[in-house]
Symmetry: D2
Subunit: 364 residues, 4 copies
């Protein structure tokens, strides 16, 4: 029986390119197959509580250059472990997956498209195991999902970080300062590495390589000796010193609890470098500027390709899968193969070798 109605939701933190996927799914569904398209609002929250809107050709007009997601998202809601806040402050956890399945049935959907990251893919897999026809589109600004060459939003984040480095370079040089830029990357250093290489950084610190503070210090001293007292350091938020308790632990915790972060690794490093050298050190935390805003062309094309491919895979009944980029092609990966696999930067990758080849200190 051919598809008639599909549902789309976006889960987890937003990133540039989500709207390109929503648009491509919708256009492909309506133009090629005359399907009805239901947008589920605020991620899995809308699936649990049946909050939706119909998506038409008009709904997706002009959204290609827009950051964020027109459907809204939630990066906390898990139907299988739904946290409810009571008036007395207690929080209880419930399995609302039944509600999610019921919404799917009430809406008479024939396929659910889940656009999301690690957590959302896990939920998509669980819903698939419960028998729902699901197709996932991978989303991670950190580029740390196994199974796909790149995820959309990543190159936009790298571009934003590179633009920031270009700005910091000129102010650092004018003042002979050490400028530190902290970028996203809790568990993987892709953004830090690509932006650092693109921006001509002198030091790049990533979670994959616990760093030796003395090596960083030595690099900065080497530059002073070369009459170039200015240095630029890019540090992933998840980087940590060697033989050390995770020094971002506290920041990570407070951030998870919804309290705004300050005092992450970038600022810690700035304090220590300022104390151990006679240099002026300044830290900038790029934060949410990496997430939002107009996606660069690469991410718009990738998002559009993934959305279009996902819809056509659904038409062919290829459920329980995730669409993935294997340059220059797209392919399908079974959801069950993905569980729990995060992708760090391989230490023997060309990117690592390139960085060290052009003289960048990786803290080792």
């Amino acid at each position: 029986m051919p598809l008639q109605r599909i549902g789309i939701l976006t889960g987890g933190g937003d990133c540039s390119g989500l709207n390109a996927v929503i648009r491509a799914l919708t256009l492909s569904a309506i133009r090629n197959h005359k399907l009805s398209v239901i947008g589920i609002e605020r991620g899995f929250h809308g699936l649990v509580f049946n909050q939706t809107q119909e998506l038409t050709l008009r709904s997706v007009r002009d959204i290609l250059p827009q950051g964020g997601t027109i459907l809204g998202t939630s990066n906390k809601c898990n139907p299988f472990a739904f946290k409810e806040l009571h008036k007395d402050g207690r929080i209880t956890t419930h399995d609302y997956s039944g509600r999610a399945v019921q919404t799917f049935r009430d809406l008479k959907l024939d396929c659910l498209f889940v656009i999301g990251g690690d957590g959302s893919l896990q939920i998509a897999h669980q819903l698939s195991e419960l028998g729902l026809p699901v197709i996932a589109v991978p989303k991670t600004i950190d580029n740390d999902l196994e199974g796909t060459d790149y995820s959309f939003g990543f190159h936009t984040a790298v571009q934003v970080a590179t633009d920031a480095i270009d700005r910091l370079q000129t102010t650092g040089r004018s003042h002979d300062r050490v400028m530190i830029l902290e970028v996203m990357g809790r568990g993987a250093g892709w953004i830090a590495l690509e932006a650092g290489v693109a921006g001509g950084a002198h030091v790049i610190l990533i979670p994959e390589i616990p760093f030796d503070f003395d090596a960083v210090h030595a690099k900065i001293k080497e530059r002073q000796a070369l009459q170039a007292p200015f240095s630029l350091v890019v540090v992933a938020e998840g980087a940590m010193e060697k033989d050390c308790q995770p020094i971002t632990q506290e920041a990570a915790t407070t951030r998870l609890q919804g309290v705004p972060q300050f005092g992450g690794i970038g600022n810690h490093l700035a304090s220590r470098l300022g104390r151990d050298t006679d240099l002026e050190v300044r830290c900038t935390v790029l934060g949410h500027l990496q997430r939002g805003g107009t996606p660069i062309a690469f991410d718009r094309v990738l998002g559009t390709e993934l959305g279009s491919f996902a819809l056509h895979s659904a038409v062919k009944g290829r459920f329980g899968t995730m669409v993935a980029l294997r340059t220059p092609d797209l392919k399908l990966v079974p959801l069950k193969e993905l569980a729990g696999r995060a992708r760090q930067v391989p230490l023997d990758s060309q990117l690592i070798r390139t960085a060290e080849s052009v003289g960048i200190c990786l803290g080792r």
Copy 2:
């Protein structure tokens, strides 16, 4: 006696457009008057210690789009109160203005161009009182100098902040969050106001209007009631709550001591809003991204006009002055008229009226 040799220095924090001024001074001097041009390095530090480089047509090639200053700068050095750090950690203060004057004479300069902010203009005035032929070019990213419509670097900072707001808007809307952007402006809220109006902020907090937390809270609640739970707040670093000790005092202090800042007004506000509402609140501190990088066209034109006009004013012997913009003309202001006058946003200005007219809450 006509001019033969001129000196140029840039003092204080860097901002976009400094190189446009240096270039215009140099090109105008060499092309029109065949002068020798001496670049004094690292601000007044180079004047005290006679550290210079000759500036030629080649030196200033291609520097127009570059942020920062090719001469380097220092935002601590005052020849009249020079702080010397001794090996035992003591700091002593000396009057090295004699050295500065001597360098001027040793270099056989006929005019000194000082491109700088409040502090540098003060020093320029003192050197002028000592008899040096000085012409100043005003520089302040905060736009808070009396006597000139705009200073270069300001509009670039506003553009960078506006781009940041555009990015935060999409991520805030996707997550129904309150996004806070802290921008520069210790004593004046020009950047916050212009960027906030340009970016469509819902709340703008500036030093000129000590804010009522309840008014801010009410505005955010009003938006929730209007089915637009997302809000965007722009706060100048020098903003403070009404009837309150300056809550940025600590941050300001630590920054002045060269220790990287965290925990400024933006993060304080985020904590409090997060605590007093059930909303997710996120703060981004734009920091040094406002200073560096390619100047926008407006600042390149303004810097070029000011530099060219300064040189021609020197040729006419109009020393002891500052060049200033009185749209669309330039004019000269005596240095002695400037002392200690900072320019805040007038509360009856069109900008304030405009902001409130389109529904922006200014915290009152």
Copy 3:
């Protein structure tokens, strides 16, 4: 009797910042005075044929960063000389001003806001003479309207042109080429001059100074002799050679007839320079890229200020006027004082002096 309903239309070619004005008018009207706001579609066309939409708080959400005008525009329609195309190809001209007035009355409007350029202001004045309460907001990408320091859209166009020059500089230098950029400016050279100064052009040709081809040629030769064989020329579309019939006449004519333009002054100049020198010459016509797209912060602020000020002027009954920028204030100018006055770059302006001071050849 206080205002109750207002109408807004945008006329003439689009430019960046129109939506900022529409948004500010609408927000100020609804939030401060609870007025009804009627958007008139496609410029005066909608006034003649009563094609409108109501503008609400929701209509103007998110339009601040958008180029163009949400109301649509027409740069041909004049109610006083309306051209009608018949099936047999004949075109007849009619005075439909009565229809325009009738629409105004049918809509029960209390004030009409006309956002437009030279032609639209003329029509606004005529409608005002017929007794309609009209307030105009000046719009010209060319910055050539008398009575206002700057018009919105102009600085965005200058920024787009400057970005283009930055790009052409690197390719020109790599190839030792003469790169020509043709920018807008039929009757005034503001864009060419500001962008040329901002981009570090070597030659700038504007309508105000009929150019001497030999002077241009000599400047390019001078650069070759200086081991800098690359040159960058910015030419306004309305520039023309001295003692010459307007060489853009043909292009101008064809453009007015709705046929796409090619072969304007930029390409003519490229042909001639390529023939008279042994240099490779390349011309780029920036064209419509100057009109559309996200306005820079300056134009968003200016548009918002003008819109807000226009609304409040209407509330005070100050009809028959145009709002204008007299930095840093806004003011009202009677419409009748504007008729037919276009503003060229004064030959004794600081901008002209600056350009020549830094060595730019203006073709004389």
Copy 4:
């Protein structure tokens, strides 16, 4: 015997990212292997006439964000068929490959790095056949080189074109116009397709699919019927109508002869659409804006990786090869395998399928 001295040249049209390759080669050579690095100026011209400069760590400082090539280039010079212009206007052709080889020997080079496109790779192959140790780095803004997933400069060009489309969208919509953007791509439509998909174009015309004018016309009419009278058309410069003599023939010819182009396919299409419909049609030719300027992060990273990998391949003696991207790895391709193979967009590629899936008319 280990390497001691290497030479680098850039040939053919410039594109963004060339400096990233030069920098990575130089830094890797000096930092890791203490080699001497000779920059050969103006492409093969400098090899024939022994025009060089030494490249040091200082030479390549700050060049990463710069467009173009610091070595200069020539897109006409072929040592094997060198065209000499005589005073009487005659042009004679000579085999100066012996001079090129002699320069290589005089400079005591151990390896020559040729960064260039189709033509340069051919020459590199011929020099390799003559016994010179050569390693090539592929460069083509059109992305039409066989053997590598992407070439640097391509994604920057796509980004520039996408930004242009974003601008044209708003102006087109405001005026209900058909906006045409002509982009690069003589023989392959990669830029047109990626930028068109990224920008949400309605029609994309590429050399791989000779287009049916009626199909284009029908698409535009379909949009009018849908109350969306505005259309955006992206056309590659090499696109041509079905069953037609190449209509860009004349433009292509004149361009090859060094005469600036006008009247390419974009303008032809605009004339015809304007004539056959009652719509206003406007064409913008993006031209050289696609070549120059700051490379986006992707191209800086790719250029750096290719340069670093090329140097290390030389150290291992892997001459007669081209470095290539096989995402996410780099690899070596023998130069002899490349001869004459240009890469068009495969008609069964995901990109083509995606474009048609979201409703873009490809002229068939």
